[in-house]
Symmetry: D2
């Protein structure tokens, strides 16, 4: 490895994923944040947006000017809204920078699928072809060589990791897959609106965008890759009164009778070398509280003898393994660092 | 009806359902609570257990002595643990009192099913035969004539109401039913344990008793009654960091292609005369915050054209429509009162 | 009293206090809501703003046109922002309607104090003179004769009730009064902003507007009335991650050594005939959970022998005794109804 | 310094402070946990108690046997209940180990004060004399030489840091000090009881142990040390529905008129070299969310010109700066490490 240290730009640093990137990078042994951008807060210290970083950084936000940023940083994280990220990724790519894009813009390999679900044309279909979907558990080798990485969505990370072994091994009836996910509110971002106003959320609970959530095609794309055949799923997200965490409960009919022990062994084997997937002991199921603030994905499995259905539960922190932590994991792979650098942290409990 | 007013005993009044019965009955125009029992708090005012009732009652708890209670009350609510309730129901029945049992003891018509799931023999199989399952939306006429009523469980109330129209009309593939339920913590009762210790629950989220929860056979019994054939379901309960509420997301393959409009019309028709079921407008989905403290069950439906699967979401307050409110609704029916007496209250929002 | 029933208009019904007025009035034996106004939602059913009221009302919002409203209603609740309420109160007053104004516009008897703290001139100083400050525990007889009633703020209600006996009896060193209040988030209203965005509030806790909150002069005015001399206090509000409730911890040096027993007796005597103040048993202190959804104010007292300081804690629901419930209590007095009509409800616990 | 690395024992590792010590030490560059004790969980992996540590440690709990532990570790953290800790501290001290005791047993220099407030005789008054009170901001030089360190309580840490500059400089009227503190629930420990049962705490808020909390003499001892004269304070703790964090609002009359600017300058100067105290910008006040998971104490000040009273607000994470983080800070000083080792972490927001 030629490179020991890397200078980092966080582009679009005023949202929760931007703040979380910064928090995690403070303890990264080989990365230093050297630029942060925010249009609204240009000229102000990053700590004016994120007081929890006070005492740990003096960095001042700047507007997004790709060439100016490129002079300060070797590696760019884009924490921008979709559509906006398309252009920024293109610019930094042109400037020769490696990019991890945390938006959805480069996740869907087929630009017509992007167009259907995101209601925008993709402006850079050529660049899209070179982008790698950044789920290390599935695409580690490609990630290592990527220059533009599409960081997975939070729901897809939890859903794909829950189902990958089952689908890869052909044990599930593909047509029977149901993904019932529950997310904390930070997943909705930092822009205030009535839906996320505290008294409306607290002591409340709802499903939303049933059957129509934009993360659906992303899950289907990756499961199809594993299955070797198109996959259509039912996906229902729910909003939970908590800050962080996604719990996904995934259901699939088992092609042939399979007991929990065998299912469990399959998952253990599939994930045995993964630094951030913890397959829980037989009979145990995950709780988002155990992954809060960490890059782990916890998984528990059950094969129901009454229905011959597999029930798999996964838990992640939507801002870490579901966003900024996974982005750093991908950067580590892209830079040839130890994959766990900056991420060897326990969840914060309680 | 000759009877204008009824004196009420709440037997086992120290738990949340006991407290909630009292809260709701304070505003019942034809019922007066005249006795409350609690072994632990015998001799102490009920307000020592439930300070929120202060200023509204001077009643003192007494030990459970059926003949003493029977002298004070015409109608008995049993808010006891299962097994314990069996005996108490028998005693009050012998004493000629009408009883609503909030425990599981008389819900399962087949005593061997009870034995399998609750790991106790049923001591009163004869009495069990006379018990009526108290879901008014399904069994109103029988309830009116019941002397022993088995009040449904909280999860079953939400699940059965979500699925009844679909199953009754034969639209669903029975083998494909999945019930993914999310409950607030009061559903676990008032006994402290590490699992429900505040810092363990708050900012946490988990599935539990996957495929093995005791409410499963109760749901299956009622759906089977509607379908006219045995039904086996997948049921996954989850613990949500909130006090009250159950949101159930139910999934079933549609036998024939059905659009959301038709599904919605079916639900509207099925529940058109129900005072406590609100089928939401097309495209809207329930939130537990809108039923908090009230006896309503809100329902939203979606027919997914991509998967030909129905997704039905229901919301109740687990302590009201899922327990004490439904118990009062049943009492109203059993006593010949207006079914809505004491229950014409809006949810408390926020 | 000649009047049996009253028709009610809720003017400005889209905020939390508007919704809470409606919720409580549904169960009022002598009041019927006949008009609701909302500029933003004019033409839409009130249930589109407040789905928890579905099934209990078909009322449609209308714009604020005083003469049109006056034809439909005998009694008007103003749940408008301050400044806006001034004009509306004047109009309905001119039209001969009794008005309870839930804003701050008519609370401060001295218009220059209003001007100082609210940074607006008072447009109706004459009408202001006729307004009565609606804390029934202090001003019941005046309230009965009022035609324009200024409903107290939430913090002042909790603070004044906590301190009134002490100040009225001259036991406290007036210069030593400190009021440390903690409020749930609904007190901030229903307009979304970053400060009240769920992930910013949840698991957070802060003081705000230290020494400068607009409720300060209102507290001082009423304490001064009790003391017979000007009063200057320290008031610190805090934002607590919960929906409802204010807990106020008030401190004052005792003029002469006084033990807790004597202090407690004083409070019991002072509030002995009050239907909505519960002085807790000696040694007990209030919890907002016990007043949630109810019109009660719970009070506990302690005289610290180490410091010769009184510590008084009060708990209210900010939306009920702190706003809409107290407004109805005042209406009951103004209309000659039983003061408890519509308010004989227990708190909702848990 | 001759020592590069230190082996650590966490004695009493099953509570929240034990878990938090482990979480923080995972990222300490010079410390390795080599032994953990728990009587209840002896023989089981620490991850069976704390699943959030899974994948980061294989350590197995052992019973507390001082000589066995002493062979494995050079430095001992005691996270035991008070009274129990007395004996353990003595044993490890006898064995020549440096000890940080997180209990209250060695915090009060005067054993009769301990006896009064804790209702137990102190068994080791001689050892008590050698113990150092571990608030680095006040006693850094003594801490460096200590072999037995009494780690401060959570409330005292927040209260003393809020008041130290004011008291040290003689600006406050000592007799007027009031400390109103608000704590998250983890401060109550991990033992379940009804008081901390989720539905009892959530959406609740109360004061407790008014004037009688055991942290009172600890605060008074340290403020007296700063003032050079005995100090008696009013201290009121409150329980807040959140996991972590203490916000302390402290009040004191200013001896002479002092404006906020001058007060702010005084605090900035007092804490200018402190690595973990952040005096916020003029006009800003702390929020516990900004220190969650970190060792920072944030402080904001206000001098009220209306009352000539200082209002100082401090925020800490009760498990970090209020317990385990401060314990590690003390260990760093005692071992001659960089005081910030293992603690250069940002708070986790949101």
């Amino acid at each position: 490895m030629g490179i020991d240290k890397v200078n980092i730009a966080i582009v679009g640093s005023s949202g929760y994923t931007g703040g979380e990137l910064y928090r995690l990078l403070i303890n990264h042994p080989r990365a230093t944040v050297t630029a942060v951008t925010s249009e609204k807060s240009a000229g102000k210290p990053i700590t004016s947006i994120f007081p929890h970083l006070s005492g740990l950084t003096d960095l001042v936000c700047e507007p997004l000017d790709a060439s100016a940023i490129a002079k300060k940083a070797d590696f760019v994280f884009l924490a921008l809204p979709h559509v906006t990220a398309q252009e920024a990724a293109f610019q930094f790519h042109q400037l020769g920078k490696k990019v991890v894009d945390l938006s959805a813009d480069y996740r869907l390999a087929d630009p017509t699928v992007y167009e259907t679900w995101y209601e925008h044309c993709h402006q850079y279909p050529e660049l899209l072809k070179s982008a790698v979907y950044g789920l290390p558990e599935l695409h580690r080798e490609k990630i290592k060589k990527a220059s533009l990485l599409a960081n997975p969505g939070c729901y897809p990370t939890s859903a794909i990791l829950a189902l990958a072994p089952l689908v890869k091994k052909g044990l599930a009836d593909i047509a029977s897959i149901i993904i019932d996910s529950k997310s904390g509110v930070s997943g909705a971002g930092r822009s205030p609106s009535l839906v996320y106003h505290y008294p409306e959320v607290n002591e409340g609970l709802m499903a939303y965008k049933i059957g129509t959530h934009r993360h659906t095609p992303e899950i289907e794309q990756e499961l199809a890759g594993l299955a070797g055949t198109p996959v259509t799923i039912s996906f229902t997200p729910h909003l939970i009164p908590m800050n962080r965490g996604i719990l996904t409960t995934a259901y699939a009919m088992l092609g042939s009778p399979t007991d929990t022990g065998r299912l469990h062994a399959l998952y253990q084997e599939f994930y045995q070398n993964e630094p951030f997937v913890r397959v829980l002991a037989l009979g145990q199921f995950p709780n988002v509280r155990n992954v809060r603030g960490s890059n782990f994905c916890d998984i528990g499995v059950y094969a129901d003898p009454r229905t011959n259905r597999a029930v798999v539960v996964s838990a992640i922190d939507n801002l870490v393994k579901g966003a900024s932590g996974q982005a750093i994991q991908n950067m580590n792979l892209m830079m040839g660092f130890d994959e766990r650098d900056g991420l060897k942290v326990a969840g914060m409990f309680p």
